[in-house]
């Protein structure tokens, strides 16, 4: 492929939402750069950056990102957008957590009622968020009611649906799966459920072959007015999925 | 009594090539039948039919008066044993090979053991019982295959060139065994052989095959040549033989040894064919003597000891061979 290319590692949820499909073509046309998207789990995406196999990473795991940059693998984190996590559960909310406004309170109640909870269990951004919520609630989850399935978000929703269980999910994936499952949002809007996305260029000093020019152009683009507007206008099932961080 | 086998207008072809074309062929029960003929004439194919491995393309194949077809042939197969021309032993021990047919007939284990051991003993290969079938010599394989067929004590035994790879002692043993099966056990045997002497000595009936057709006589006196139609003669490379008037064509001529008449001087008789030759071999065979005469072509005649004495003929003597034109087959 003769064209210049930019390799980006991102999380499956970002790619699956379909956002990148509308976000990238204007950039690719403008700079004559092809963006090769490698969609994997958050942990793997950061690892690929660490190894220098990609030029840029686009993920949502603030603590891990922090560590990534501090270790010198990445140059700088740029906020791009955010959305939120929600807790979903079976219709009728048998555990009765919907009335609570604090996410950790809701989880605490779940644990007490022994309602089945499906965990990603894969160290992904979502899983890390879940763990921090349990931490806040002062609970070490475990037992028959707590199933760690080690799979992607979609699969977790399917399993939760099959078992009539609760789960923590990003809103994007939930919207994508909404038609296929019976689960309903039971807890949302709590500040703890904030889900920010950052883009990080892999450190060219560590990995000299990193396509610095393209990566910088991309960061500029995604944080430009044009890029941010595309993010704001992107809708799934008539609903806005992501909220841009640079423009209001 | 109905015949054991009856084949009427049977034809069989591989792909396009017609391999069997038999007008009429019957095998009587409690007899030994030999089939000889040149390579590729169809002997094995015929035996495959008799062993119910294949069905004729057309015509009728009856076994004990019952037509053979796909619905009954697998049942009928249990009444015959077939030693194929190149027997296949399974990759197990000799004993297990011999017991296989008994196992298929659900014989109890100890019965199988006893019968296979006895059979291996009879055939002088008891020492091979626990050997793996892959570690046998050519003749040993042949013996095991014969044992595997015999142990089933079938009504009919079908053997395709059973004496190949066997040493002389074993050939002699199997010859007497086959005779014994007919005489003492009332069994029937059909076998093929390229050895005309074995065929002659052993069988009640000999058939010769050529190009898929059966001729009911030995191949011993067979000559190739052509028919000179308007003179009612058959010209072989060395002789001209009178043949029946109705025969118009053919490339082979056969005379049954028993129809040959020997004499010290030419005979005044109705026999149209008479040739002078010299005795080049004499061989005692059961109660008979086989005489070979070189008269341009080689003739083989079979006579009794008394006839031999009366005629007073000796090895190397000149002798006349005569036969009727109706004693010949042309095909």
């Amino acid at each position: 492929h003769a064209r210049d290319s930019l390799r980006m590692a991102t999380t499956t949820s970002t790619d699956n939402s379909g956002l990148l499909k509308v976000l990238h073509p204007p950039f690719e046309a403008q700079h004559d750069i092809r963006v090769d998207v490698i969609a994997v789990g958050t942990g793997k995406a950061l690892r690929l950056g660490e190894q220098g196999d990609v030029d840029i990473v686009f993920v949502h795991a603030p603590d891990a990102e922090q560590a990534f940059v501090e270790a010198g693998f990445g140059v700088k984190r740029y906020p791009v957008m955010h959305n939120d996590f929600v807790i979903v559960g079976p219709e009728g909310d048998p555990a009765g957590i919907g009335v609570l406004t604090s996410a950790s309170q809701a989880l605490k109640q779940l644990a007490e009622s022994q309602a089945v909870f499906i965990s990603r269990g894969d160290d992904s951004g979502t899983h890390k968020k879940e763990k921090s919520l349990w931490n806040e609630a002062g609970i070490e989850p475990g037992g028959d009611w707590y199933l760690a399935v080690g799979q992607g978000m979609g699969a977790v929703l399917k399993i939760a649906d099959d078992k009539g269980a609760y789960a923590l999910t990003d809103r994007g994936t939930y919207l994508a799966y909404q038609d296929k499952i019976q689960l309903k949002v039971v807890v949302e809007g709590a500040p703890a459920l904030f889900n920010p996305y950052h883009v990080i260029m892999v450190n060219p000093e560590k990995h000299p072959h990193v396509n610095r020019q393209a990566a910088e152009a991309y960061i500029d683009y995604i944080r430009s007015e044009a890029g941010q507007l595309i993010i704001r206008n992107f809708k799934v099932a008539g609903k806005q999925l992501f909220h841009p961080d640079v423009i209001p | 009594m109905t015949a054991l086998y009856e084949l009427l207008s049977v034809q069989f072809a591989y792909d396009q090539a017609m391999v069997l074309d038999i007008d009429e062929f019957r095998v009587a029960g409690n007899t030994i039948t030999a089939i000889t003929g040149p390579n590729g004439c169809g002997k094995t194919t015929l035996l495959n039919l008799l062993a119910f491995l294949q069905l004729p393309d057309s015509g009728t194949l009856n076994f004990r008066g019952q037509p053979v077809n796909v619905s009954n042939w697998s049942r009928l197969r249990k009444r015959v044993s077939y030693v194929q021309q190149k027997p296949y032993l399974l990759n197990m021990s000799v004993r297990e090979n011999v017991e296989l047919g008994l196992k298929f007939r659900n014989q109890p284990n100890n019965d199988r053991r006893r019968r296979s051991a006895a059979m291996l003993d009879d055939l002088g290969i008891a020492h091979l019982a626990e050997r793996s079938a892959g570690e046998l010599s050519g003749g040993e394989v042949q013996k095991v295959a014969i044992a595997r067929a015999l142990v089933l004590e079938p009504d009919v035994l079908i053997l395709d060139e059973p004496f190949t790879h066997l040493d002389q002692r074993s050939v002699g043993f199997f010859e007497s065994l086959i005779t014994l099966l007919r005489d003492d056990r009332g069994k029937s045997v059909v076998f093929t052989s390229h050895d005309p002497i074995i065929a002659q000595v052993l069988s009640d009936r000999i058939y010769s095959m050529l190009n898929g057709r059966l001729v009911p006589c030995a191949m011993t006196n067979m000559y190739s040549g052509h028919v000179i139609a308007d003179q009612h003669l058959f010209a072989s490379s060395h002789l001209q033989i009178h043949i029946p008037e109705q025969i118009q064509s053919g490339t082979h001529l056969v005379i049954d040894p028993v129809h040959l008449v020997l004499s010290r001087s030419p005979l005044q008789s109705s026999m149209r064919n008479a040739f002078q030759g010299r005795i080049v071999a004499l061989q005692e065979q059961s109660d008979l003597i086989k005489v070979s005469i070189d008269a341009g072509e080689h003739f083989q005649a079979v006579i009794t000891h008394e006839a031999m004495r009366d005629l007073d003929i000796h090895f190397g003597d000149p002798v006349w061979v005569s036969f009727k034109s109706s004693a010949v087959h042309v095909f």
Binding site: D122, G150 | A51, L53, A149
Partner: protein
Amino acid sequence: MDYFSQAIAEALVLVLSLDAEVYTVVWTSIYISILAVCLAAVTSIPLGIVISLKSFPGKPLLLQVLNTLMALPTVVVGLLLYGLLTRQGPLGELGMLYTPLAMILGQWILVSPIICNLTVSAVSSADPRLHTTCMTLGAGTWQQGLVFMSELRLGLMAAVVAGFGRAIGEVGVAMMLGGNIEGFTRTMTTAIALETSKGEFELALALGMLLLLVAFVVNGFLFRLQRKSR
């Protein structure tokens, strides 16, 4: 080569620690794949023998279809069975989804074409006199099948070993139908996939080595079985 040496070190730790969790995962892998392969062998070897001995119209087509089924991606098998076993699906009432039983079913479907095809190939390559010898000795259909199995044991064992390799090494079915539930349906392959997605490549590789070790032991066992049966 830090990557590989670290993987080897982690593999050693895994094997030596005798961690109960690791043990559960290994055992789940083993029993599920062995049951699936047994099921596939019992169904597909006889089927393969029958197919290759009988001649019937459409046989070449059937063989081509069987060959094609060897290309079934594991995920597709997972999707197919998912469609049947999901709560909404025709067999949803059974509640089989996300259980070892569902995984066994899926691996059975996955492995059957392999064993069936290789059986057909073994029978077709056999000496044609094997068939006629059985017939002349008066073997019934079942008896003949047993003789073929014993006579072609080398080829059939290769088929079973190939099938076992496929089963224990596959991840799509285990993931889709088992759900990778810790302590219940997590197998070595789903654990590998999980560690890979976490970016824990060395640990994943170490698990892969463990898996090969397990397969090695099972194959050694199969070999001994085969040699004994001689």
